[in-house]
């Protein structure tokens, strides 16, 4: 399934009943150098549009929202030792967590690549 996006600059890649979540290149650029990532616990139940992780730059902490509801099955422990991976490779090895989908129908409400690109363009 093609990658989907939220208006809050998270990406989600769905494969069957599971999905991988991260933040977009636009988000990491806006945040600046990332110095800490607070990941959810494996087994945590997250709800769509609710806080699932926190990403911190030198100047501020920002929430990362779950694009869809589900149960966290895996977190990217590489980010604990190397938070800068989110800046260097946000949309691949800098992923945040994996989910078992709670309600796959929620995916349809997310932005596709074209819609997300249009949003970024509108932001300037």
């Amino acid at each position: 399934m093609p990658r989907k996006y939220t208006q809050d600059h998270e990406w989600i890649e769905v494969s069957g009943e599971s999905a991988t979540v991260g933040i977009t290149n636009y988000a990491q650029t806006a945040l600046g150098d990332i110095v800490f990532v607070d990941l959810p616990k494996v087994g945590a139940v997250v709800k769509a549009k609710q806080e699932a992780a926190v990403v911190e730059s030198v100047k501020a902490a920002s929430d990362v929202y779950a694009p869809v509801s589900g149960t966290v099955t895996e977190v990217n422990t590489a980010l604990t030792a190397d938070p800068g991976l989110v800046n260097r490779d946000p949309e691949a090895s800098g992923w945040f967590f994996k989910l078992k989908l709670g309600n796959p129908a929620e995916i349809d409400a997310l932005l596709d690549q074209t819609a997300y690109d249009a949003q970024i363009k509108a932001l300037g």
Binding site: F36, S57, V58, K59, P83
Partner: protein, 366 residues
């Protein structure tokens, strides 16, 4: 402090910040550069390793004039001002009658009957009103308008500035004089060697442009200014200092001069002298979170048993330390180096320790 973006005052260097692709934002009612293209982390490291140029023109600059200027100011501050030599600068605080801190400021004795003050942007109206009410008739407060204030900070600061203003080589930490077409002091608020340059807004631009164009210099925004002063253990008004907090609670005992303790003739002297003799119930300390968790302002500090004993007043990531750093107020019985404490971040408790300040050693030119 108003951060209402609908009515922001702009400062003379704004166009230069835009040209340097600054991200601008509201601070104390002014549109200020928060960071530049380099980003907060690298701006911080640039200042520690080479030199950084900060626009702090939002701060208040004023003269206190008259043969009784120093004596008059002493009624409001706990430091020795009458004893300052011409060319000597002092960090002190304005006090209310309860010994609480109205503002922290720099005082330079520029001439026998002339003091030069630099006060916080967010407090200048309050400070000036306080001074105007308290000053005797023969002492005049003159607020400087159309004035730049830039800080050049870092180990290469002298190397960069001396070819343009050779007299700066003669200054050591907390000294200043008229030079370079303005007033230059060897001071700053990063923990590094460096200078603050107070310049007329028009003629001063040329010197600022020369500094900004130097290959070892970069513009540095308010974001890195905050992380630099936090690592250096320096207080930020409104975070680490306020009108309820005394200099003794803030661990600024050193600004209460010996002769002023004996005279006991400054605002709030009763409380402050009692605190110096008997201690305080709370005190500002350094807090080092273990691991990488960042504890920001207002984070609760708990003892090992889980009882709240204080709060973080300034906290964040220290780029030179390479990890989280913080300062906070805790009950004085816990204010002992290496005392284990806990920090509550997003509902979870994390271990931390009481540590000595600063986190990065000061490198002033003494």
């Amino acid at each position: 402090m108003s951060n209402d973006e609908s009515f922001l005052r702009t400062l003379p260097l704004t166009e230069r910040h835009r040209a340097a692709e600054a991200k601008m934002g509201a601070f104390a009612g002014y549109e200020m550069p928060l960071q530049y293209k380099m980003g907060v982390l690298h701006e911080h490291l640039q200042t520690r390793t080479k030199a950084g140029l900060f626009d702090v023109s939002h701060m208040g600059q004023a003269y206190l004039m008259g043969s009784q200027a120093a004596a008059a100011l002493e009624a409001l501050v706990p430091s020795d001002i009458t004893g300052l030599q011409v060319g000597q600068q002092r960090y002190t605080v304005l006090l209310n009658e309860h010994g609480g801190i109205i503002d922290d400021l720099m005082v330079l004795k520029l001439a026998p009957d002339l003091l030069f003050l630099v006060v916080n942007a967010s407090r200048k109206t309050i400070d000036y009103n306080l001074l105007r009410h308290a000053l005797p008739r023969n002492v005049t407060l003159e607020v400087l308008q159309e004035r730049l204030l830039v800080a050049l900070q870092g180990p290469l600061a002298e190397t960069v500035l001396a070819p343009l203003v050779p007299e700066v080589k003669s200054l050591t930490f907390m000294q200043g004089a008229r030079m370079g077409g303005g007033i230059i002091t060897r001071s700053g608020y990063t923990g590094e060697d460096g200078f603050e340059l107070s310049l007329p807004a028009d003629e001063g631009l040329e010197l600022v442009d020369q500094l900004a164009a130097h290959p070892d210099v970069n513009w540095i925004g308010l974001g890195a200014r905050d992380s630099l002063r936090l690592e250096a253990g320096l207080c930020l008004y409104g975070h680490d200092l306020d009108e309820t907090t005394s200099p003794v609670e803030a661990a600024l005992n050193w600004i209460v001069s010996k002769n002023r303790r004996e005279a006991a003739d400054f605002a709030g002297a009763g409380r402050i002298l009692a605190e110096l003799a008997n201690g305080t119930t709370r005190k500002r300390v350094g807090i080092k979170p273990e691991g990488r968790i960042i504890a920001r302002d207002a984070t609760q500090i708990l003892d090992r048993a889980g009882t709240t004993i204080g709060f973080i007043s300034s906290g964040g990531y220290g780029p030179s330390v390479g990890g989280p750093v913080a300062m906070g107020y805790i009950e004085s019985v816990h204010a002992v180096i290496d005392t284990p404490v806990q920090l509550e971040v997003r509902g979870t408790l994390y271990p931390a320790k009481v540590v000595a300040l600063p986190f990065t050693p000061h490198r002033y030119k003494k």
